[in-house]
């Protein structure tokens, strides 16, 4: 008996469904295109409905523009359906109207994604200077596999801009929900790890949060944290990270003047 292997992450049918096996050469060009597999990085499991959404997104992008690759990332790739964001990075050397694609996806699929259009050079630059890019691309689904050789290059002024966002937790602790608190904490910790030249991924950042705040991620997301203890640690890390960044800014200024 011959065996047929099918991808574990697939759209269209479940275990136990009856299927017809047909040679690819008999399919039309359009269908062939549909059957091309996607590349999954850091994604161990994804609900069938999400795979169908990704297929639809691919359809919209392929029909609309010329592009090299697209990358889907964000909390959409986490288990469950309480995702906050679906980010689509479109890699293209052509001028692409991201807003138009966003509008089409929203109209056709009913999801409101964030779309970033950039060329490969900008993406590599982002990955080498921006911890959030690194974290974003620690888990993704793309049309093609991404192969990079990234050397981390710290731009302290840009890190300062990122860290500023996390200040909102100090000022508005009582008004932020758990998910917002988690996002801001994650942002700060990703920056702090980046400054230590450590690998940034959702897993490594979450592990560090648990270690520093001695709390479970779920408790932060559920807004079940002790305000006094959490804020004390948060302010301490914020201050230390800010000081490191400012030292770096000063060094950058000095080296530019020479």
């Amino acid at each position: 008996m011959d065996q047929v292997y099918v991808p574990k992450k697939r759209t269209g049918f479940n275990i136990g469904d009856y299927v017809i096996i047909k040679p690819l050469k008999e399919e039309s060009g359009k269908d062939l295109k549909k059957l091309k597999k996607l590349y999954f990085y850091g994604v161990s499991d994804l609900e069938k409905i999400k795979l169908e959404i990704i297929e639809k997104i691919r359809g919209v992008i392929e029909q609309s523009i010329e592009f090299e690759n697209f990358i889907i990332t964000g909390s959409f790739l986490e288990r469950g359906f309480d995702f906050r964001d679906l980010d689509i990075l479109i890699i293209s050397n052509e001028k692409v109207n991201g807003n138009k694609i966003k509008k089409t996806i929203t109209e056709k699929i009913g999801i409101n994604p964030d779309i970033i259009v950039l060329n490969i050079k900008t993406l590599i630059k982002g990955l080498s200077t921006d911890p959030l890019y690194q974290m974003m691309l620690s888990k993704y689904v793309s049309k093609k596999r991404l192969i990079f050789n990234i050397k981390t290059k710290i731009n302290y002024k840009i890190l300062d801009l990122h860290l500023l966002k996390s200040k909102a937790l100090i000022d508005g602790f009582d008004f932020l929900n758990g998910s917002e608190k988690y996002q801001l904490t994650r942002n700060m910790i990703a920056i702090s790890l980046f400054l230590e030249n450590k690998k940034i991924s959702k897993v490594s950042v979450d592990r560090k949060i648990k270690e520093l705040f001695k709390t479970e991620i779920k408790d932060i997301k559920d807004n079940l944290i002790n305000k006094k203890e959490f804020l004390k640690e948060y302010k301490k890390i914020y201050k230390e990270t800010f000081e490191k960044i400012m030292k770096g800014v000063k060094r950058e200024n000095g080296s530019k003047q020479k």
């Binding site: 259009v117 500023l164 966002k165 909102a168 400012m246």
Partner: protein, 113 residues
Amino acid sequence: MAQNRNKLIELFISNLANSIVHEILERAIDREEIADKYRKEIKNSFEVSKTYRNKINPINSPLPAGDSLFIKNRIKKRVERELNLRISKGYKNIDLSLVDKEIEGYLKKLEVL
């Protein structure tokens, strides 16, 4: 109710001050280093401020003179404190002369003034 309004005003001040600091710091960085992503951050922060503004009565007309002056002064103080903190630590190219203009612009956009 009054307490809620005061809290909303505090949140509005904090978020808007952050947007303005962000805007001014962005100008202190070489332009080529800034991708669209960073502009999106300012937009997000501004959108949050807008959400708070839309909860502070009167919504469709400028706030009473006392409130708007209070907000303007508090934002100015916060923005200058953040920027001066950076200057004192050796951050260069921060243009403090932009502060008043930016605050004025944002507050008009959000119908505070």
